[in-house]
Amino acid sequence: MTMQALNLGRLNIETETLETLNLLAQWQSTSRAQIIQRLLRDGARQAKIEHAAGLYGRGELTLERAALMAGVSIYDMMAHVRVHGILPPGDLGELQSDVASMLARRGHDELAQQVLRAEQITDER
């Protein structure tokens, strides 16, 4: 991992946050700078995952692209969306059409029609 100095100038931090940072540094017997560095790294990573997962939930990205964007594996992204209840877009009509297409491809035209009729009923509701 390459490191780069980041000059934040006069960055204002709430007193409470500063106290927490000092406390964490004390508890973990490390410097405040190292605590800030770790929190920034973990927080930035988490924010990237949350942003990409949000785009996936809105149908703007596929799960694979969201994982790539967040810099995590597709399995990690799957776990994240499951834990946070982020559901992919899509509707019942599309699902019924996919099932009907499969039935038609397999020569079950009458069954495909029945599934599509169910789709119309769902739409009407």
Binding site: T62, A67, G90, V99, M102
Partner: protein, 169 residues
């Protein structure tokens, strides 16, 4: 499919399974590096020949460039669509955006859930096995409750329809 242990069943339904090197890199190489057990399952399936790994032929790579897929799609999904177009086979696409792109390219597609329904239609599983596998898949895939309920309903409808077909022949 790997996550829900459905690879063998999908192989029987589709008469062979293949993934592109892009999908392999994403699901297996990346997954193994991150220590995911599911990646190891897919890796084993490629080693035993259950799943074939295919590299895009030069003509298919050209098709990939010309397709100008939206950036919302991952490289594995883009490769799957063009390879299915080149091989004239069915693409398994579980994402709405990917399925919409497959329609534009003119590729036939299905999703993991419909493969399971297809196994029921082909008589590879009975209704109880279908429902058990579907419930497992729903748990793995964070499936919407409304979709799960609809698939269970369709499974019963299809099962009854097929039984009536057999009775009348």
């Amino acid at each position: 499919m790997g996550k829900a242990d459905l690879l063998s069943l999908a192989d029987k339904v589709c008469d062979g399974l293949a993934i592109t090197t892009g999908v392999y890199n994403e699901a297996v190489t990346g997954g193994l590096n991150a220590g995911h057990r599911d990646a190891a399952k897919i890796a084993r399936a490629t080693q035993t020949g259950l799943v074939k790994v295919v590299s895009l032929a030069p003509g298919t790579q050209e098709l990939l460039k010309q397709a100008a897929f939206p950036s919302a799609l991952g490289p594995g999904e883009q490769e799957t669509i063009v390879e299915a177009a080149a091989q004239q086979c069915l693409a398994v696409l579980d994402d709405t955006r990917a399925r919409a792109s497959a329609v534009v390219i003119g590729v036939e597609f299905c999703r993991t859930e419909t493969l399971l329904v297809e196994a029921l239609v082909a008589g590879l599983v009975n209704l109880t096995e279908f429902e058990t596998s579907l419930l497992r898949l729903a748990q793995m895939r964070n499936m919407k409750a409304s979709e799960l309920a609809e698939l269970l309903r369709l499974g019963r409808l299809i099962s009854e329809g097929l039984r009536d077909d057999h009775a009348s022949t």
